[in-house]
Every structure is written in C-alpha cells, then in structure tokens.
C-alpha cells in the first residue's frame, strides 16, 4: 500500500519503485519511466494522428461516394462510427486501469484512469450528437429510447460518474478506489452496447462490421478505416499527453511541498 503522495515523492527523487517492486508490469508502469518513454514519441504520434484523422474526415466528407439508400447523410458514419468505437475502447482501457489500480494499487493506473475519463466522455458526446444528427434525416427522429441508443447514453453517464467520483473525495486515494469500482461495474455495459442490436429489436441498424466481414462497400470502408485509425491515435495521443502532464504536475507539487517542509 502506498499513498499518492509517496508515489509522487518517489517519482520526484528518481525511480525507486522499479527496485522496490518487482515484475515486468511494474517496470513499464513506473511513472518516471513512462514519462521518459512517452515524451520523445509524443510529437510524432500527434503528427501521425492528426494526419490520419484529417485524411479520414476529408475523405469521408468530400470524396467518399453517397450511399444508395441514405444518400449523403451516410457520410456522418465517418465520424460517428470512429467516435463510437473509441468511446467503447476507451472505456475498456479505463476499466483495465481500474483493475490494475484495485488489485496492484499502481499509481500510474490511477493517473491513467483519471486522465482517460474526460477524453472518453468527449468522444462519447461526439458519438451521441453525430448519431442524433444522423437519425433526423434518415430515421425521422433525433432520438429514440431503443437499447442501442440508451446503452450508449449510459456509457456517457458512466464516464461522467467516473470523472466526478475520482475528483470528488478529499483523499485522492479514496476517489481512485471509488472511481475504479464504478468503472469496473460499468464494464457489463460494453457487451450490451455491442450486442444490443442483435439481442433486441432496435431502430438502430445492426453492426456493419464484425469479425467475419463487413457489409460496407470498399470505397466507403477505406475512408471509415482511415478515420477510425485516426480517431484511435488521437485518443491515444491525448491520453498519453494528459498522463505526462499529470505526472509532471504531481512532481511539481511534491517538490513544492518538499521545499516548503525544508523551509519550515
């Protein structure tokens, strides 16, 4: 058991945790080491993410063919679907970090969970809004309470709940614990989102892409895949940058605290 404060101090003084705790997992999950690995790759990752996202978005908006049935409205797919996938994968990452946090009490997992939350919530919001804007011209309504739409709205609320819970405690440690439990309990929502369109009648159409193939014509599938890769990399870059910033912020405050103690 260690408190966040001591974790911050350890990071500040150098990387002692690699020595005090064994295992390959801890080797890579050490905040100081994470910062040293991440900082040099971040600009490159950011550039590639931006390039892919812009390519996918422009391709989908202006160059992909209109759909035989939905016409141009189907273009919303190229932002809606990537946002939806990123929201769900982001939540899976949040849950994984929560699991590491609860079982191994690892400080980097706590920081990662805290920083994933707002980014994931943002992507979920984009998914919901773009979906509503897609629904109006095709279905004839912005919103219905079918199983797919409702379960994605629940995902959004899980993210919001996690954001509030992690930051809502006097003691950081307790906030992380509570947030992690919420995040893990919410994992049951992920298979519900994915399979809702198969298990129940929904207004939302079925999944176009599965492990066995896709029902999207290649000239529309390629921009979708590029856009998806772009969104995933954007998410990764944003989260890594936020974790890096959080590590430095903690280091700064622990150094400040140490110098205040010295002066006193």
């Amino acid at each position: 058991m260690q408190s966040m404060h001591s974790a911050g101090e350890r990071t500040a003084r150098g990387n002692l945790s690699g020595r005090t705790q064994g295992g390959w997992l801890h080797y890579f999950a050490n905040p100081g080491r994470f910062a040293r690995f991440t900082r040099p790759i971040l600009p490159w990752l950011g550039a590639v993410s931006a390039l892919l996202a812009v390519t996918g978005i422009v391709w989908g908006y202006a160059f992909a063919p209109a759909d035989f049935q939905q016409g141009d409205a189907a273009r919303i797919m190229y932002v809606h679907v990537p946002a939806a996938w990123v929201s769900m994968s982001g939540y899976a990452m949040l849950a994984l970090c929560s699991f590491f946090s609860l079982v191994w009490r690892h400080p980097l997992a706590d920081i990662a969970a805290e920083e994933i939350g707002p980014v994931g919530a943002g992507f979920t919001f984009v998914c919901l809004v773009s979906g509503a804007l897609w629904g109006r011209p095709t279905w004839g309504t912005y919103w219905v309470w079918d199983a797919r739409l409702t379960s994605v709205l629940i995902l959004f609320f899980l993210y919001l709940g996690h954001i509030a819970l992690v930051r809502g405690f006097e003691s950081r440690e307790r906030g992380y614990r509570a947030g992690a439990i919420l995040a893990l309990a919410g994992v049951v929502n992920l298979p519900i989102i994915v399979f809702s369109v198969q298990w129940w009648n929904t207004l939302h159409q079925g999944n176009s892409i599965s492990f066995t193939g896709s029902s999207i014509y290649p000239s529309m599938l390629y921009p979708l895949l590029v856009s998806t890769l772009g969104f995933y990399l954007c998410f990764l870059t944003l989260v890594l940058a936020r974790i890096l910033a959080a590590i430095m912020e903690r280091k700064t405050s622990s150094l400040l605290l140490a110098s205040a103690e010295r002066d006193a």
Binding site: I57, A73, G122, L133, W134, P137, R242, A245, E249
Partner: protein, 46 residues
C-alpha cells in the same frame, strides 16, 4: 407525403462537432502539457 430533408446541415453539424472537439481537446492538452513542463523546469531550477 414524404419529407425531403436537405441532409447537409446535419452532415455539417456532425463533422463540425467532431472537428471542434478534436481541435479543442488537442489545444487544451497541448497548453496543459506546456504549462506543466514549464512549471516543473522552474521548480527544478530553483
């Protein structure tokens, strides 16, 4: 009677919110990272 809606305002809205979100979060994150780097460097130098 079938409603013929012009889909473009909806398409523009969906793309608009996506691009706005990505650009705004990127900007905010970059500023936070720069700020954190600067402050840490200041503290470590002193």
């Amino acid at each position: 009677m079938i409603e013929h809606l012009n889909p473009w305002p909806f398409i523009n809205g969906a793309y608009g919110i996506s691009v706005l979100f990505l650009a705004a979060t990127a900007l905010l994150t970059w500023r936070r990272l720069r700020q954190a780097t600067k402050r840490l460097a200041q503290i470590e130098a002193s």
